[in-house]
Symmetry: D2
Subunit: 135 residues, 4 copies
């Protein structure tokens, strides 16, 4: 299992009228989690994209359990749950600093080749980096 | 069945590096859809909230089928799928102006009483307004 | 003088903990105003960008006079104040439906050629479209 | 002079179609800078707001010098430039990790009493904390 953790301080403008982290902004936190998980593997998502491989999100589901509030420091745990094929599947948990679970979520991404404008299978360099975690 | 449609023009700053409406911003479009569905019923979500009843989102799932691009005009169809109890369940489809389905989604909200800080059942005035659609 | 008006309904998630339209989100409304002003001239900002001419914002100043609240319908008036040269200067006023001024703002953009990665002067087709308004 | 520095990694969804940190999102970074400057003084902006003192932004001006790109780590330096009276004035510089200045900005905030719904002068506890820096 391949996982990674980041800490994020909830910003003022990310919070809604109820004082809660707006439910749409969680997507940005998960995205930051994915970027860091890949960086820890030695892979720059930005470089991969600059080279013409993008990974659009195809599905997202989020279960909001307890609100995250302005100025809370939350911990996002990102897990690559399966060896990628044409899909790339991540799961996430968000906890507060007391260890309470605030949110559970999952996203499914696909690999897409910008030049051919077609979906593609997981690139070889990517598979090589993550394979050791799925033996 | 109770449903409503709104048209939204995708804004420049809502689009990401791929040129796609960022997947987190769909939540704002669905929220606008809910606000309009309630307005058409004669109910102001803002006033309900000012009177101390909030409806946090407990679950959201989104299936992204085709990207929405900057300056596309998209149509959000919002459906209240069930007679509300303690939960309020909506489904959404997003289409482009050619009628292609871009996205399907659903959200589950709960009613919450701000003064008692407790979940509550659907308020009577709310149930009365929506009941005719579920006979 | 070249100007244009758009109406925008303030979305739930655009509002902050004070209940005010978050001050960073005004930039999205001004951007929507620019897109519409150009569309009314017969110019698609998206197409211009697809053809390799981008217009990054170099300066923005905003004076927030009265807050815009969730579900308010606001009117953005966008004015192209000068005949463009290397710069493109817009001014904005935001009013509520009672005609009260909520905000005044200005932005300075520059033309930039993506392929040469260099700033450029206003393109001829652009200048031709706006020139009649500055005689 | 009272100042503070924070490091922020630019998120994927904060970046626009040009690949630049969207110009409206800088407001969120400056806000994070203010929150940290106050925290270092021993003041929680969240608690101040919970006690009924809010500080809406009245003016913002931003000069965008070089773009910040996805995954760049930027440094925001926040400076409280004057001893506050009824106004609270901050200046900001954003630099990249090579020390290049990306942006200069300033904001003017006002103190506002939620219960009386009126502007107010700087609270005594606030003035006491910052005064030593302005002798």
């Amino acid at each position: 299992m391949l996982s990674s953790e980041i800490h994020i301080r909830v910003r003022y403008g990310e919070v809604d009228r109820m004082g809660y982290l707006h439910h749409g902004n969680y997507a940005l936190y998960f995205e930051a989690g994915r970027t860091e998980l890949l960086r820890e593997l030695g892979l720059s998502y930005r470089e991969m994209e600059d080279e013409g491989i993008i990974t659009p999100v195809r599905e997202m589901h989020v279960q909001y359990i307890r609100p995250a509030l302005y100025d809370d420091e939350v911990i996002i745990k990102t897990i690559l749950t399966k060896k990628p094929t044409a899909k790339l599947e991540f799961e996430y948990t968000m906890e507060n600093s007391s260890g309470e679970v605030l949110c559970k979520a999952g996203t499914t991404l696909v690999f897409y080749d910008v030049s051919s404008r077609k979906p593609m299978r997981v690139p070889a360099f990517f598979l090589e980096l993550v394979s050791p975690y799925f033996d």
